[in-house]
């Protein structure tokens, strides 16, 4: 099922949680809403589910305007961060709940419901736990029951709100791989919310990066990592270093010296240079490059992270070098970013 979010704005009282958000979700896609807390990602997910109504704008499921449908009619599977299992029901009853509350005409017979519950339990690898109560399960198991319960109603769209947020790192990694497998097996259109970029990049077909109630960028993991389209995305996804620079004559300047990077076509004026600390070329001499004094250095696994003070304003940037590189011993290091991006300073 294709989902289309059209110019949606959502205000809580007068506080705007989402500004004019539009998003196309393709059928069968696994998509991540990624952003810091307060970016509006959970609000967007709840709007798609129908748990909130948009202040302005529409949401389409296929060709149908979902804004006119209640939560019940939307037929979405929603998995909550804290599972929201019904604790007085067994695992099997939890999973079968969505089928049991259907009107008589469309409700499957009781033993069909039971069969379907145990098939879903097989799918989420919890076979044989039908008779348990949620209190008797671990966090990871509960989350899997919650997913099975959401899938039991054969939803058009599966929505997951920070599904692994409350679990420890080991279980998270395991469930992440497992969710990918389930998605491939069932082909549900799936949207999940996360603040963990590693989770988003690893799991999703496409990542929606959000900040302050706006969508910053939508793209595959490669696109948002390699081609970030805003300073926020560059800073939020992966490690990055930034440096205030100036664009003049299609060249980047740091104070009064060109740094050997050309910015053809970019408008002149103040700007910010972004690059990845690990993606730099170390140089011996320095004519047209960046050079700085080592202010601090840390050993991180196989590499060394060096903080450099650059230029008259002693701007600090971080770069990464191999531990055995000769430059690692020096007190002054010259480098040039291999891949970089420059954004004009806002308001200039």
């Amino acid at each position: 099922m294709q989902v289309r979010v059209e110019n949606v704005r959502k205000e809580f009282d007068t506080f705007p949680a989402l500004h004019d958000v539009s998003l196309d979700i393709r059928s069968g896609e696994l998509i991540a809403l990624l952003g810091p807390s307060g970016s509006g990602k959970t609000t967007l997910l709840r709007l798609i589910a129908g748990l909130e109504q948009p202040t302005i704008g529409k949401i389409f499921f296929g060709e149908d305007d979902a804004s006119e449908k209640s939560i019940r009619e939307r037929n979405v599977g929603f998995v909550f961060q804290h599972y929201a299992l019904f604790r007085h029901m067994t695992v099997a009853d939890n999973i079968g709940f969505g089928l049991k509350v259907r009107p008589n005409a469309s409700r499957p017979p009781a033993d069909e419901i039971r069969k379907r519950a145990s098939r879903l339990l097989d799918l989420v690898q919890l076979s044989g736990l039908e008779k348990r109560y949620p209190a008797q399960l671990s966090g990871g198991q509960r989350q899997r029951v919650a997913l099975a319960r959401a899938m039991a109603i054969e939803p058009k769209v599966l929505l997951l709100d920070e599904p692994f947020g409350a679990l420890d790192a080991q279980v998270r990694r395991e469930l992440r791989r497992w969710l990918r497998e389930i998605h491939e097996a069932t082909g549900h259109t799936t949207v999940f919310v996360t603040h963990d970029q590693e989770e988003a990049l690893e799991l999703a077909d496409r990542v929606v990066v959000m900040s302050q109630g706006r969508i910053e960028q939508v793209g595959t993991a490669d696109e948002v990592y390699d081609e970030p389209n805003s300073p926020f995305v560059y800073g939020f996804i992966g490690d990055s270093s930034s440096l205030p620079v100036k664009i003049e004559d299609d060249q980047l300047w740091l104070a009064d010296r060109p740094i050997g990077l050309s910015a053809a076509g970019a408008p002149s004026g103040p700007a910010t240079l972004f690059f990845r600390p690990h993606d730099v070329e170390l140089l011996d001499g320095c004519s047209g490059c960046l050079a700085g004094t080592v202010a601090a250095s840390r050993r991180v696994a196989g590499t060394k992270r060096v903080e450099l003070e650059i230029g008259g304003h002693r701007e600090r940037v971080e770069i990464e070098l191999p531990v055995d590189h000769p430059s690692a011993q020096k007190s002054r290091i010259a480098f040039r970013p291999r891949k970089w991006k420059v954004f004009p300073t806002a308001g200039a």
Binding site: N75, F78, R87
Partner: protein
């Protein structure tokens, strides 16, 4: 109130490392003995001095039986009414922020504080055939004051806070996500309440019922004003005890008390076991 029975067997559970187990257990036992056990065993002692045949004769006396029937019957009816309305009151107080909620919330506790005789007199004035409410009911053929219905009304008044105060915190704890989950799964509002929320509240409702019922069985002050106290019709067991005492018929008084005690104890024990069972299951 029921942790002990949930534990298997009679073996002492190993106390925690925090000191004070011996001291607190000792204190609890001494205290319970002084306050509850000694007076109650006195009661058993006095009624035992009666001899089995006499005891049975008093127990099977028509007036005694009717008084017991009225006491337990009205207490059960009042507790049942309170369970329904108390739960609704608790729900409204938790869920809907309306102006004056704090004041209404505080008012719920008034039956705890008010001398019960005052409540009885007030209710009688209202419900008497010439009272504000009573005069409206008379044309409908409903008589409240001086009938068992009046006793139920008084006991509903007395028991309400017990249900509200036990159910309220549990409603406060209900996670909004639970209701949202039920809605996304396609449950109607009614199905959400009856299948998801209500079973979660049931243990608290049962506790509230037990407390309101126990309070109702023992209630004296408010009832004697509104009941009319006709032997065999609106005479409650506690009143009959007082009457026997005033006749200096101590054995009869203690015998009736002992019977009330046994019935109450058995009923409360059953309710407690029911709760321990449900708690063990749903954690």
């Amino acid at each position: 109130m029921t942790t002990a029975s949930a534990q298997a067997g009679w073996r002492f559970k190993k106390p925690s490392v925090i000191p004070g187990f011996g001291l607190t257990l000792g204190f609890a036992l001494v205290y319970l003995t002084l306050i509850i056990l000694i007076p109650l065993s006195g009661l058993a002692w006095r009624s035992a001095s009666l001899g089995w045949a006499d005891f049975w004769a008093i127990a099977m006396d028509r007036r005694t039986l009717n008084a017991l029937k009225i006491s337990f019957g009205t207490a059960l009816a009042a507790a049942a009414v309170n369970v329904v309305f108390g739960t609704i009151v608790a729900w409204v107080l938790v869920r809907y922020p309306f102006p004056g909620r704090r004041i209404v919330d505080a008012m719920v506790d008034l039956p705890f504080a008010l001398p019960t005789a005052v409540a009885g007199i007030a209710l009688t004035t209202l419900y008497a055939p010439k009272g504000w409410i009573g005069s409206l009911l008379v044309p409908l053929g409903i008589k409240v004051a001086y009938t068992p219905l009046g006793i139920v009304a008084a006991l509903v008044f007395i028991g309400l806070p017990f249900v509200v105060r036990t159910v309220q915190p549990i409603i406060e704890e209900i996670d909004k996500e639970i209701e949202e989950a039920a809605a996304t799964l396609g449950a109607t509002r009614f199905q959400t309440i009856s299948r998801v929320l209500f079973p979660g509240l049931a243990p608290a409702i049962v506790t509230g019922f037990a407390l309101a019922f126990a309070r109702g069985v023992g209630e004296y002050g408010s009832v004697i004003f509104i009941a009319g106290n006709l032997p065999n019709v609106t005479e409650i067991a506690p009143l009959l005890i007082i009457i026997r005492l005033e006749e200096f018929n101590y054995p009869a008084a203690t015998a009736i008390a002992a019977i009330m005690l046994i019935i109450s104890f058995v009923m409360l024990l059953v309710i407690n076991l029911l709760q321990a069972w449900s708690r063990k299951r749903y954690g």
